[in-house]
Symmetry: C2
Subunit: 126 residues, 2 copies
């Protein structure tokens, strides 16, 4: 392959209009990037933490198991809004739940959640 051909190929591969990409770095990082699918899931996972209502629910549940009505009272929000958000948290497996008569009690599913919350609070406290 001639130099000219190689350069043309690089330019084509490059999203930028020109060619001052640091190929060694890009190649090295490309090799260790997780699969697209995993990164999409990761973003979906964190999206759950990116809403203040859900953050409040998660923080509250880190203190105690609670029912829907308790949470609605604590956050001064409608039952429906809380229920919708709990569904999101359930789908992402961030909360567990148990039924006791008419009441559903929710709790945190595992302690990655607490670690993540704690790391986040450390970051913003800096």
């Amino acid at each position: 392959m001639t130099d000219k051909e190689r350069i043309e190929q690089e330019v084509q591969a490059c999203v930028c209009e020109f060619m001052h990409v640091h190929d060694e770095i890009v190649d090295k990082v490309k090799k260790v990037m997780p699969e697209e699918q995993e990164l999409l899931e990761l973003a979906e996972f964190f999206k759950v933490f990116g809403d203040s209502t859900r953050i409040k629910i998660l923080y509250a549940l880190s203190q105690s198991e609670m029912c829907v009505c308790d949470i609605a009272t604590l956050l001064q929000m409608g039952q429906s809004a809380i229920s919708h958000q709990l569904r999101v948290l359930k789908q992402m497996r961030l909360v567990n739940f148990r039924r006791d008569g008419k009441t559903m009690f929710y709790s945190l599913s595992d302690d990655h959640i607490q670690t993540i919350l704690a790391q986040g609070m450390e970051h913003i406290a800096e």
Copy 2:
């Protein structure tokens, strides 16, 4: 205060239509809830992780310092999109940057970020 008065007060405080709130739990949790402002900031902070482009950028930067064009090439996206997202990451202090001539090099700002990414990956791997 009569029982009737106390109950009426509870009902008023309750977002739910009726009154089967677990007051002890709600009160206990209310006492330890961080301030509204802190929880809002926390949600804003995590919102940054809730987008796949930004997750990819963060992951990439956890491997190596990179310039805007490198990242755009790696992710096969436009320079403008990457630049916009880097601005978000900058505002939340998730990345540092240094200038070298015409080129801006970005890197992760601290290791809470890596911890959070790692915890997230552990969670979804379960």
